[in-house]
Structure formats: structure tokens, C-alpha cells
Amino acid sequence: MSWTSVQLLVDRQFKEHARLYYISLLLLAGLLSFMFLLIHNWRDSFSGAVENGVFLIGLFLSGGLFTNSMFKEFSNKPEGIWLLNIPAGSFEKLLSAVLLSAVAFLAVYLGVFFLIDGLYLSFSDQERGVFEIFQNGFHEFIYLYLIFNGLILLGRVTFIKHSFLKTMVLIIAGVILLNLFNNAMLEYMIPDLNVTSSMPFNSFQFRHLGENIHVLLPSSARASFMPVLWVLLPVALWGITWLKIKEKEI
């Protein structure tokens, strides 16, 4: 693998879409400002850490759309042939896309989010401090974003047309199926419980004598397998994407 080649590919992707990226950056700042304005105006209607919601909506929406701009050449024959024939390896092409859509995007997104959050705090009468990403394990959503990034990239090289929509439909269907499977497994393992909600790899809630009881996976268990999941899953998805690029025919 050649870093010069990766650098050239990153440069190529950025310069070819520079105008779109600058406009998107302004749009992202506008969207975040609008959402902060919204929660400020309706602050009495919202409770809890609403900025967490703003952070996640912004992250997954803009991150998904930005990631989907990688390998967009594959949806058009002449562009796809052009991309495949650039003298760089499939791995280098994938790595440049991951560096831009995961690493660079996260850095830019965090920068923009904290800037808008900071501005919002300075202009509003909010008593809270600056948004803390490492509080209550919220940073795990960053790992979740990496999985999401892997899925969008995989969808991009798999589907020729409307890849983003198709991938999103599959992701939503997958999440629903995973939840249904999780509930079915819970009912199978603990048949007498009245499970009201559950979250795979995390917790479930059931009603007992009129009270909701929340059961969390022991932190030691989560600590032992979650990092594996957070690392292995995105790497596996990027790996499959790499193989798909290698096998791509146009």
C-alpha cells in the first residue's frame, strides 16, 4: 500500500466535490443551529438531554449523506470505469473513502457541533455546561456511527441506483428484525416475564407487581465484548466493501 496514493485519492475526492462539501458544511451548521433554536423555543416541552438528540440526528443524517458521496462513480458506467482504472489498489481506494467519511467527517462534525453548541450556550440562558460526549457512555454512538459508515459504504458499492435509500431500508429492517429476534429470545429464555422493551446487547425492561424493572447487562460483560463488537463490526463491513470493490465489474 502506498500512502502517496491514498493521499492523492483523498485529494481527488475532496477537490472533485469541494463545492458540494463547502455548501454541505454550511447546511450542516444551519441545520444544527435550527435544531438548537427549536429546542430553545420549546424548552418547556422537552425534558432531558435534548442536545444529545440534536447531536445524533446531525451525526447520522449528515454522516450518512456524506458517506454516500464516496464511490458515487459506481452508479454511472463511464465514471465507474474511470474510478476502477485509476492506478491505485482497491484497498487504497477504500482507505481513502474511510479516512474521509469516518475520520475527517467525525473531526469536522465534532468541531461544527461544539462550535454551534458553544454559540447557543453563550447566547441563551441555559445553565448546563458544554455538551459532554463522554458522559454516560454516550461516546458509544461514535462507534455506532462507524458501523453505520461501513453499512453505507457497502451499500454504495453493492447497489447501482438509489443506494442510500436501499441501504437505509435494509438497515431499518435489520434493526427491527434484530429487536424482534431479541424479544423472541428473551421470551424463550424467561417465559414468565412480561417484557415491555429491550435493547440488544444492552438491557431489557419488564413489569413486575405493577412496577417497571430495568435489567442492565453487567458492566463487566459489556466491557468484555462491546469493544470487540465496536471494532470488529466496522472492520468486517469495510473488509466486505473492499472485496466488493475488487470484484466490481462495469
Binding site: S2, T4, S5, L8, D11, R12, K15, E16, H17, R19, E73, N76, K77, P78, E79, G80, I81, W82, L84, N85, I86, P87, A88, G89, S90, K246, E249, I250
Partner: protein, 285 residues
């Protein structure tokens, strides 16, 4: 340089585009690949360029297997597809980004081509017309100095002066270690350019000969009336009279009418092939 052995390609189980194709191409030559729409030309060159993979058989190019798309192979290949894609960049940005991928890229040579094609190097690629884009891409492809240059319908969209320039540029760019493969519907555009001719139809190679061999074995002529000559192989009525292909037992030097030969191969392959094969075999005394 290119060795194709029993190559078949199917888009689906029912749709076979290439079937058991055998072909060898050597460096130092300019090959013209001709065929009707749907003959399999584009599929063949995309197999050679590594953007399609053979369903059966093998394809070796510069001792590489194109489907593996190794970086060293891609650095020695430039493929200009029929529909050129040019990114959203200025010409200078385009050079800055893409020239470093090609170790033998010659920027001075590229500037000369742009000047000859009258393309303003300050322009933005998306502001160029279809013909200008094609010129720019052809110029880049030639300046990349790759050992294998494949061009699919390169003269589409070029005006008449640019077609002449194109022919001169390709002729000047050919080197002993380089192979140029050009497909075209516009047979006359390749007339003066190619050294070898490949005619394809329905996924098969009908003819693969050097132009020199064709010229020394077949005689192309225009006559006012249909020929009564026993050596006549094929004739057709055209505006200027009857264009004819005859046997050329004396090996008279003459200009190959590629368009006529192409029609003859499609309409009467067996007779032309037999004439070429018989002529190429030395007579036993």
C-alpha cells in the same frame, strides 16, 4: 503483449456476448477493432482493460491478468471509453491530480496536444463541449505514455481537422513497446492509422490480419461496371461505381478499402477468409 485464449463472456445465462475467442496482439502496432453494434467489441476491450471479468477462458495483458487490476498493470494501461467521464475540475487541477498516477506522463507533450487541439488549458472541464472533452482525454491518454492504450470510438465527436490531428498524434506516439487498440464504427477514420485489422461479429473474430498482408493478397478497385473477372471475391454498388475485391496473385500494392472489406466479411466471410488463407500459404513445388 495481449494473449486471449478461449475467452467467453456472458452478461447472463442466456446472453453470451463473446464465445471462445482466441486472439493475440503484439506491441509496436495499432490495431483497429471493427464490428457492428452488439458485435462484442466493447465487451472485449473491457475484458482487456479489467473492468469486466471473463466468464470462461483467459486474458493475459502485459503478463498480467487484467481482472486482478494490479497497480503496476493499471499504470501501464490507459482506457478511453466511448462516453468520456471528466471530473468537476479545472484542467490544471486535473493534471495535478491524475498525472502523478502515470510514471511516464509528459506534461510538455500534453500541452502540445492541447495547443494542437485548440483547447484552452485555463478552462474548466465541465465547461468543455463533448468534442473538446474527447480531445482533452485523448491528449491525456497519449501523454500518459502507457504501454497499452485502448480507445473506444475515439473519433466520435471530433471535427474533421481534429480527426486528422488525432491520426497524426497516434502515429507519432507509437513505440516498439507500445500497443494501441482502437474500436470504431467510423471505418474511414482508421483507414490511414491502423497497422492491423480485427473484424468481429456476434462475439467471434471474423478476421485478424495485418493491413500489409491484406493489401498484398487482395486487390481493391473501383470499376464502372460489375466485374466478370474470375478472381472477383466481392463487389458492391456505391456512388462512385462498383467497388470490388479481387484476388491479388501478383501482390500488387494497393490501398485497403476497410469499409468494403468489412462489408465483405459480414456478407461473404468464407470466400474472403479462404482467399487470404490460400494466399498466405506457400505453394508446394
Amino acid at each position: 503483449m495481449i494473449r486471449i485464449n478461449q475467452l467467453s463472456y456472458q452478461y447472463s445465462r442466456k446472453k453470451e456476448i463473446l464465445s471462445g475467442l482466441d486472439l493475440e496482439m503484439a506491441s509496436g502496432k495499432i490495431y483497429g477493432l471493427l464490428g457492428k453494434n452488439g458485435a462484442g467489441k466493447s465487451t472485449l476491450i473491457r475484458n482487456i482493460a479489467g473492468t469486466l471479468f471473463p466468464t470462461q477462458g483467459s486474458c493475459q495483458v502485459l503478463n498480467y491478468e487484467p481482472k486482478r487490476r494490479q497497480i503496476s498493470f493499471l499504470k501501464e494501461l490507459f482506457f478511453v471509453p466511448e462516453e468520456c467521464f471528466l471530473p468537476n475540475l479545472s484542467i490544471s487541477q486535473f493534471i495535478d491530480i491524475y498525472a502523478p498516477y502515470y510514471p511516464h506522463f509528459d506534461e510538455e507533450q500534453y500541452q502540445v496536444y492541447l495547443n494542437q487541439f485548440l483547447v484552452d488549458p485555463q478552462q474548466h472541464l465541465h465547461a468543455l463541449s463533448f468534442g473538446q472533452k474527447k480531445k482533452l482525454m485523448i491528449g491525456f491518454a497519449l501523454a500518459a505514455n502507457t504501454r497499452l492504450l485502448i480507445m473506444d470510438e475515439p473519433t466520435n465527436g471530433l471535427d474533421i481537422p481534429s480527426k486528422v490531428l488525432f491520426r497524426n498524434m497516434v502515429t507519432d506516439a507509437i513505440r516498439p513497446d507500445k500497443l494501441v487498440l482502437i474500436t470504431s464504427h467510423q471505418v474511414r477514420d482508421l483507414d490511414e492509422l491502423i497497422t492491423d485489422l480485427i473484424i468481429m461479429d456476434q462475439g467471434e473474430v471474423l478476421l485478424h490480419e495485418t493491413k500489409k498482408d491484406i493489401s498484398s493478397n487482395l486487390l481493391f478497385q473501383v470499376a464502372e461496371n460489375p466485374s466478370q473477372n474470375t478472381g472477383l471475391l466481392y463487389e458492391e454498388k456505391q456512388a462512385q461505381g462498383w467497388t470490388q475485391i479481387l484476388r491479388n496473385p501478383m501482390g500488387m500494392e494497393n490501398r485497403v478499402d476497410i469499409e468494403l472489406l468489412f462489408n465483405a466479411m459480414l456478407n461473404n466471410r468464407a470466400i474472403i477468409s479462404t482467399a487470404l488463407e490460400t494466399a498466405s500459404k506457400p505453394e508446394l513445388i
